[in-house]
């Protein structure tokens, strides 16, 4: 693989970190402040975009920032998996920025400057994790994201917000220190390196008991609580106390996707498919994730709070991605990577809708939204598209990943997993369709007129864009497969 040395990944990380300074300095002028956010978001997206031709051309971009300890570098490497994740996150940041502006102004939120600063910081570290060249660098950004998002979750500064934020911190920091850090150290000690390599870094594993690798792998999975695999999932519903734009970008895209992204890195680039097949860890992980898919779908059905239902739906969808990778088959891995983006666009549409409902009508519960389709026709259309996509109905993008997931399960000879996918689609329908039914079919609550009361345009336009992309990806799946094919081709070359 040809390697190009360029500082582009560093710029992609830094641009929003640097933007924090002007954002803070222009804190007394909201319009100026927000234009810095938008500027940083657009700049970041284009920097990331500029790397696409190189990576799709089969090359990788490498940049060494510093030597931290003797023999351990802080370095960036842009490959197709990382770029894929970065592209999704940075594109959605632009939309979320506009949406956030509409949201915080409509609700006259307090501490807006802190809000935008932490948002910019979170995106920086997300890029950092996407472009990390080794486990050490990735661990730094993984921890940093937890710290940057804490103030966003505690944003409301009431008892409930502090409680949610505390649980968030304990789960994420606790698991990463207790499990992820030792897993990384054991990997370093055993392999002598921490640099990601497609196909695994352990090299010759002769003489090491497979149980050792199985335990390390279990430590990784337990340590990456951001992926929301049960039993380390309950930080996510608790984090829903955050303002809705935060939930939408961070808890449908940046934080949780960083979790599954790290899981993918560990499966494909640290252990490698062959080693995991040998020790049989794939099936084990798949079992855990399948339980998560079903159980969280069942819990989702019982949630009346809109965001809580979406949160459990996210937990279940994240485990799709984990299962796909754990199948260790070409289609499964392909589906898993594609689903990062497809779920991101579909789920963020749903969260955007939830925020719009809250801003326009101040409703937080499903039982309160009878008939609101009359008042918010555009928002409801967005929700419907997102929900149907996640259920997996053509012609929506969710169908594509689901198709590959099932193919992957068949390829791997794990038919029970295919059954789980089918059951889960059914469960998805069971918890999404009632919302659609309530909003379209039931009469409006007494005392509400049927005048159109949509959210501000700054929120509405990003919603339409995300929903539009969720549809378009069905018709242009090559946007996704261009990236996944490179990874899968590299993995299953022989």
């Amino acid at each position: 693989m040809e390697i190009i040395y360029s500082a582009a990944p560093l710029y992609a990380v830094l641009v929003s970190l640097v933007a924090i300074i002007p954002i803070y300095l222009s804190r007394s002028n909201p319009n100026l402040r927000e234009s810095w956010t938008i500027l940083a978001a657009v700049a970041k997206f284009f920097i990331v975009l500029s790397m696409v031709p190189t990576v799709l051309g089969g090359k990788e971009i490498y940049f060494k920032l510093a030597t931290a300890y003797p023999g351990i570098d802080i370095a960036f490497k842009v490959d197709s998996l990382g770029l894929f994740f970065a592209l999704t996150a940075s594109f959605l940041w632009i939309l979320t920025s506009f949406y956030s502006i509409g949201y915080v102004r409509a609700l006259k939120e307090h501490a807006q400057t802190r809000y935008f600063i932490c948002f910019a910081g979170s995106l920086s570290v997300t890029m950092g994790a996407a472009f990390s060249a080794n486990l050490f660098t990735m661990y730094i950004f993984y921890e940093a994201l937890t710290l940057f998002t804490y103030p966003l979750i505690a944003h409301e500064e009431n008892e409930e917000a502090f409680r949610g934020a505390r649980i968030y911190l304990i789960y994420l920091l606790g698991t990463s220190i207790a499990f992820l850090l030792p897993a990384i150290l054991f990997t370093y000690f055993t392999a002598g390196t921490m640099d990601f390599r497609l196909g695994g870094i352990f090299g010759d594993t002769g003489g090491i008991h497979s149980l050792f690798f199985a335990v390390i792998f279990a430590f990784y999975i337990a340590g990456i609580a951001k992926a929301g695999i049960m039993p380390f999932h309950s930080w996510l519903p608790n984090a829903m106390v955050a303002p809705t734009p935060v939930s939408s970008l961070l808890h449908a895209v940046a934080v949780v996707k960083m979790g599954v992204f790290v899981v993918l890195r560990v499966i494909l680039y640290v252990f490698g498919v062959d080693l995991l097949k040998e020790i049989g860890a794939g099936a084990f992980l798949a079992a855990f994730a399948c339980v998560t898919i079903v159980v969280s779908s069942l819990i989702a059905m019982r949630q009346d709070n809109i965001k809580a239902r979406l949160a459990y739906s996210t937990i279940s969808q994240l485990s799709y991605i984990v299962v796909g990778a754990a199948l260790l088959s070409p289609s499964g891995i392909k589906a898993s990577i594609m689903h990062i983006t497809i779920h991101a666009f579909s789920k963020i549409s749903l969260f955007f809708w939830a925020g719009a409902v809250y801003v326009a009508l101040h409703k937080k519960y499903i039982s309160q939204i009878s008939g609101i389709a009359k008042k918010m026709p555009v928002s409801m259309a967005v929700f419907t598209i997102g929900a149907l996509s996640l259920i997996g109905i053509p012609p929506l993008s969710g169908f594509i990943s689901k198709y590959y997931f099932v193919t992957g399960a068949v390829e791997a000879g794990m038919l029970p997993v295919a059954v789980v996918f089918a059951v889960s689609s059914f469960l998805n329908a069971l918890y999404f369709l009632p919302i659609i039914y309530t909003a379209y079919m039931k009469p409006l609550d007494a005392g509400m007129d049927d005048k159109v009361t949509e959210a501000p345009l700054a929120m509405l336009i990003p919603m339409c864009v995300t929903a539009g992309v969720a549809v378009l990806l069905f018709f242009f799946p090559q946007v996704l497969t261009n990236f996944t094919d490179i990874i899968v081709a590299g993995l299953f070359a022989e």
Partner: protein, 502 residues
């Protein structure tokens, strides 16, 4: 005659000369005492850095006091380990002096200043002397100098309980010193020598002798008290809590570390590191107490409502890391331990100063009274956060570096439960520091009860700059850790190799 050859002696004697001079200068003008003290420590620091550079390129230095050849005469012997520890001690003492000027003015009555600075220099002289010497009895002499000046420094505080804290420390500290001198006496009795290198040779045929065992036990006990390892830590929380902040900072950052150095030196270079008591390896016993200290220190720290007490118990936990590193006997762990001498000195010294400033401003040491500090003292609160993250061991801080090597060392020598202890303590540390940070930033900042936000509190430039400097070092050496890690690795190699010392 080349002056640089005499640096090993001068780095102790030059500041020592200042000790009686400073009170005399105080008779002329009390203001110049501080400048004289800074001059003394700077001179010593400059000499130590020269020596560090020389040792790291040319190997260990042996200096014979008054040209009397060892083992008859006193020998100063400097290899990478004590050069590193010396550099840390004198750097931190220097920063404490610069940083502490304002705090000392606030916390110590003005007429005591000449005496204070004089004793402070004596305190530093004692520590550098303990570190530089290659003579066991000399270690004891300097240990007593350090301890006695330490008791005096604690008692300079205006707080009512300070003399009592000082007296407690005096009683326990004297016990420790008695243990140590008894142990040294036993060793002298059976070997007839006090020079450490010579002692190491003569002790070898005596393996298993009950006199040597008793001596080892007594010395170990004495040093563990001086290091405040749980459950021998009882003097420390009061001493740190009731002394002036500048003193707690300097003591927390340096004095227990010197104890750790002496222990490492004795374990590796004098006694055989494979020493067994019956069938129990001495390292096993030390690991047990180190782990106990790490866990208990952290657990007790969580329960504290007084910020200085919390930091003190945190020190009890942190000293356990260094002890643990020494007892695991491998290059990575010892690198981590030596690195932790440096990183803990930076972090804990910084924390005591930051807390000293906050406490001075709000007049309370209760953590619950720190509400709103995040807004009222933004720089100080930010520095506190950086130091805390570093102690917790968040990546990109210097605290993470030492933890990284400690765990790596535990893996490579197969001390599985030590890994658990280190990680558990990280979590516990996160709890008690997280609590304080939470109170500072999220409590009482804006009107909980309809009051207007409280006014900003003073953050004098003279303190913000050194504070920012130390915080910067915490992060700088966390990212670009190659330089200190390589020094620490050389230090670890120096004691583990056994060749370079002997």
């Amino acid at each position: 005659m080349n002056l640089a050859v005499n640096f090993p002696a001068l780095l102790v004697t030059v500041p020592l000369i200042f000790v009686p001079v400073i009170p005399l200068l105080g008779l002329i003008n009390r203001k110049i005492c501080w400048y004289a003290a800074v001059l003394a420590i700077t001179a010593s620091f400059a000499m130590i850095m020269t020596i560090l550079a020389k040792v790291s390129t040319e190997g260990p230095i042996s200096y014979h006091l008054g040209n009397w050849a060892p083992p008859i005469g006193i020998e100063y012997r400097i290899d990478m380990l004590n050069a590193f520890v010396l550099a840390v001690i004198s750097f931190i003492s220097l920063v404490s002096l610069l940083f502490g000027k304002e705090l000392v003015e606030k916390e110590v009555p003005e007429y005591k200043h000449p005496a204070f600075y004089s004793v402070f220099i004596l305190f530093v002289v004692g520590m550098t002397g303990m570190t530089v010497t290659g003579d066991l009895f000399n270690v004891y002499v300097f240990l007593e100098i350090t301890s006695l000046s330490g008791y005096a420094l604690i008692a300079t505080s205006k707080k009512r309980y300070a003399p009592m804290a000082s007296f407690n420390y005096l009683v326990i500290g004297t016990l420790a010193a008695t243990f140590i001198v008894l142990g040294i006496g036993y060793l002298y009795m059976v070997t007839g020598t006090l020079n450490m290198a010579d002692l190491a040779e003569r002790i070898k045929p005596l393996n298993g002798s009950s006199v040597v065992l008793t001596a080892y036990a007594l010395i170990l006990m004495g040093i563990l008290i001086k290091m405040a390892v749980f459950p021998l830590h009882l003097w420390l929380p009061d001493a740190y809590t009731y002394s002036p902040s500048a003193v707690s900072a300097a003591m927390a950052a340096t004095s227990t570390k010197v104890g750790a150095y002496v222990l490492i030196r004795l374990m590796f270079s004098v006694f055989d590191i494979e020493y067994h008591v019956g069938s129990v390896p001495i390292t096993g016993i030390i690991i047990f107490f180190a782990s106990l200290s790490i866990v208990m220190g952290s657990v007790i720290a969580i329960a504290q409502t007084n910020i200085k007490k919390m930091l003190a118990y945190s020190s009890v936990g942190q000293i356990g890391y260094i002890l643990l590193a020494a007892a695991m006997v491998n290059a990575e762990a010892l690198t981590g331990g030596v690195m932790h001498i440096f990183s803990h000195a930076l972090m804990k010294g910084g924390l005591f100063f930051v807390v000293g400033l906050i406490v001075y401003n709000i007049g309370s040491e209760r953590i619950s009274d720190f509400a709103g500090i995040g807004r009222r003292m933004p720089f100080t609160a930010a520095a506190f956060t950086i130091f805390s993250l570093s102690i917790i061991g968040i990546p990109l801080t210097v605290g993470f570096v030492s933890k990284w090597y400690l765990v790596l060392g535990a893996i490579s020598s197969g001390h599985w439960y030590a890994i658990g202890v280190i990680l558990l303590s990280s979590l516990l540390t996160a709890i008690y520091f997280g609590k304080v940070i939470f109170v500072m930033y999220f409590k009482g900042g804006h009107d909980d009860h309809g009051h207007a936000p409280a006014a900003k509190l003073s953050e004098p430039m003279g303190m913000v700059i050194p504070m920012a400097f130390v915080a910067f070092l915490c992060i700088y050496f966390g990212i670009f850790a190659t330089f200190p890690v390589e020094l620490a690795a050389k230090a670890a190699e120096a004691v583990l190799g056994g060749v370079t010392w002997k």
